[in-house]
């Protein structure tokens, strides 16, 4: 049974929304801290490094989970360009989530800065102390941040487009999950909720092929 489920794995959904909040917070913290010479600069800078490393750790846990549990199939009637955009943007989102903390970390190392997470916890340098490299990485950190924000906006708009206009179940696959089809008989393991992180990804009770979802429930 190699069929992907209808929805993203519940644990993946939890991590998705947790990281969505963290990544958005980081982008706001990042552009906010560089915008000011006020005391907020130091407060935000102190948050920026540990949250960035937390995102790096989460994405390193999330990527294998995503590769193992797979993704639900896109609607069969989705135009090929939109399929390409969906898959390409997911690759870029993962790449950005992993690259931004690594660039930030390498950038501080290249600038000769201690990579301080908390008082007393300093990470080792992952790049040589080199100001050309620092200048390059520092610039990349800003440019990729702005592109990352634009990508997140496009991702959000696309998700809402699926949920509000196409009503094709794609948005639900990363939110509440697909409700059991009314035509399906009640299942023995129906007490396992969609958000139960221990629910098997490959639920044998699910239908063999994607079934059209009722529009009323969207």
């Amino acid at each position: 049974m190699n069929r992907p489920p209808h929805d993203f794995h519940p644990l993946l959904r939890v991590v998705h929304w947790l990281m969505a909040a963290m990544v958005l917070a980081m982008l706001f913290i990042g552009v906010g801290m560089v915008s000011t010479t006020g005391p907020a600069y130091l407060t935000l800078l102190e948050l920026h490094r540990p949250v960035g490393i937390a995102i790096l750790i989460l994405v390193l846990l999330r990527l294998p989970l995503r590769l193992v549990t797979g993704s639900p199939p896109l609607p069969l009637d989705l135009p090929p360009m939109q399929v390409l955009a969906a898959k390409g943007s997911h690759v870029l989102l993962y790449a950005s989530m992993a690259a931004m903390p690594l660039i930030g970390w390498a950038m501080l190392a290249a600038g000769g800065y201690p990579v301080k997470l908390f008082s007393g916890l300093i990470l080792p340098p992952i790049a040589p102390h080199d100001l050309w490299l620092y200048a390059w990485l520092r610039q990349a950190h800003t440019v990729i941040a702005v592109l990352f924000f634009a990508l997140i906006l496009a991702h959000l708009c696309a998700a809402l487009f699926h949920g509000l206009i196409r009503k094709d179940g794609v948005l639900r696959s990363m939110t509440v999950g697909t409700p059991p089809s009314p035509s399906e008989p009640p299942q023995a393991d129906s007490e396992i909720s969609d958000f139960d992180v221990f629910a098997p990804a490959d639920d044998p009770g699910a239908p063999e092929f994607p079934v059209p979802q009722p529009k009323a429930g969207e």
Binding site: V31, S35, T37, G111, I122, L131, W132, F149, L160
Partner: protein, 368 residues
């Protein structure tokens, strides 16, 4: 490929609205919309304006410098007020930089301006303590806004070489601390050597002891070399790099030493403004001795490619409520980012060294 359904306007508006709810706060957070904030670039631009032009590759302030190295030997007394490893008995490596104020890397040393010492102290626990200190116990302005106003008003008039008196008057009306600073600088001795100057932390910081008790502190490095002053009436007769050459010659003969004196704040001392001196008796702690035994041009020293951000502090030492600290950190970072991208340029001291070497017959012989 059947007929395309028209896209409903309602949901599209909802989607656009949700996107705007993210975009507008983002633009506000970035400072691109809404009230104007002072950012690092505003201050580096003011410094460049004061200098007269951009000096690519150099610090936007304190552009002229000399690298130093040595060590700090703590006697343990500082551990009474801070858990920082640097205060535990032992000897810790130090690198740093002597500099004079201003954005001109080839400025003459004969000016009544800040003489400065920046330090980076490493401890075996991997922690760093960076300091950027001046030879005056007070700073002329309390804030980034004041600093920009200072840079704009004190730009030398190309005709007279002096700031416009009308602008200075307006500056002092807005920032009376500039007058207090000028008065101090006029009467204070202008040290004749980097080695005999006292260097002050400028801002207040906090020290936290092993019981978690935090105290406000200012510190200073007090020289063992006796203070003597430059003749302020004849500063213009000094050779361009007099202070730097003196320090190089002196260090070749003997190391220079300073005592790190921690001054614990009394109740009522201003900790949120570097413009106000702490007066009267204070509890002071002599925490140990800084020894500088090597100096070298920035081309070969370790100091050029470092940002001596005074907010990079080890555990046991923290920030105070002085808003100037955040401003210094941000502006140093902006300056660092700019010069990193511009690439290093030859320093005054490095140029001197190359000239001296070129004149040296032994070097000429070797080069041939």
């Amino acid at each position: 490929m059947s007929t395309r359904k028209p896209v409903p306007a309602g949901p599209l508006l909802v989607i656009g609205g949700i996107a705007a709810l993210l975009v507008l706060p983002f633009l506000w957070a970035a400072g691109w919309i809404g009230p104007k904030r002072i950012n690092g670039g505003d201050v580096t631009r003011a410094l460049e304006y004061n200098t007269g032009k951009k000096q690519p590759g150099f610090r936007r302030a304190h552009a002229k410098g000399l690298c130093l190295s040595g060590n700090f030997t703590a006697n343990g007394a500082g551990s009474a007020v801070s858990t920082a490893k640097a205060f535990e008995p032992g000897t810790y490596p130090v690198i740093g930089r002597f500099s004079v104020a201003g954005g001109n890397p080839l400025a003459t040393d004969g000016r009544n301006v800040f003489h400065s010492m920046a330090l980076l102290l490493n401890t075996p626990d991997g922690q760093e303590w960076r300091m950027a200190m001046d030879h005056t116990p007070i700073f002329p302005v309390p804030s980034a806004a004041g600093f920009i106003a200072l840079q704009r008003a004190t730009r030398p008039d190309p005709a007279t070489g002096k700031p416009d008196p009308a602008k200075m008057k307006a500056l002092i009306a807005e920032y009376p601390s500039v007058k207090a600073f000028q008065d101090y600088l006029t009467k204070a001795v202008l040290p004749s050597s980097f080695a005999n100057a006292t260097y002050y932390s400028i801002n207040a910081f906090t020290l936290t002891d092993s019981t978690g008790n935090a105290r406000f502190v200012r510190w200073q490095f007090t020289p063992e070399a006796p203070l003597s002053g430059l003749d302020k009436a004849h500063l213009d007769t000094l050779p361009r790099d007099a202070l730097f050459r003196e320090m190089i010659d002196r260090t070749a003969r003997e190391p220079s030493r300073w005592h790190l004196i921690l001054t614990i704040a009394n109740p009522g001392d201003r900790t949120d403004s570097a413009t106000v001196a702490w007066s009267g008796p204070h509890r002071t702690i002599d925490a140990g001795v800084l020894t500088v035994d090597k100096v070298m041009p920035e081309e070969v020293g370790a100091c050029r490619d470092l940002n001596f951000d005074p907010t990079i502090l080890p555990a046991g030492i923290g920030l105070s409520d002085d808003p100037l600290l955040a401003a210094r950190s941000k502006v140093y970072s902006s300056s660092f980012q700019r010069r990193a991208g511009e690439g290093p340029h030859p320093s005054a001291v490095g140029g001197d060294l190359a000239e001296d070497l070129a004149k040296d017959p032994a070097y000429k012989e070797a080069a041939r």
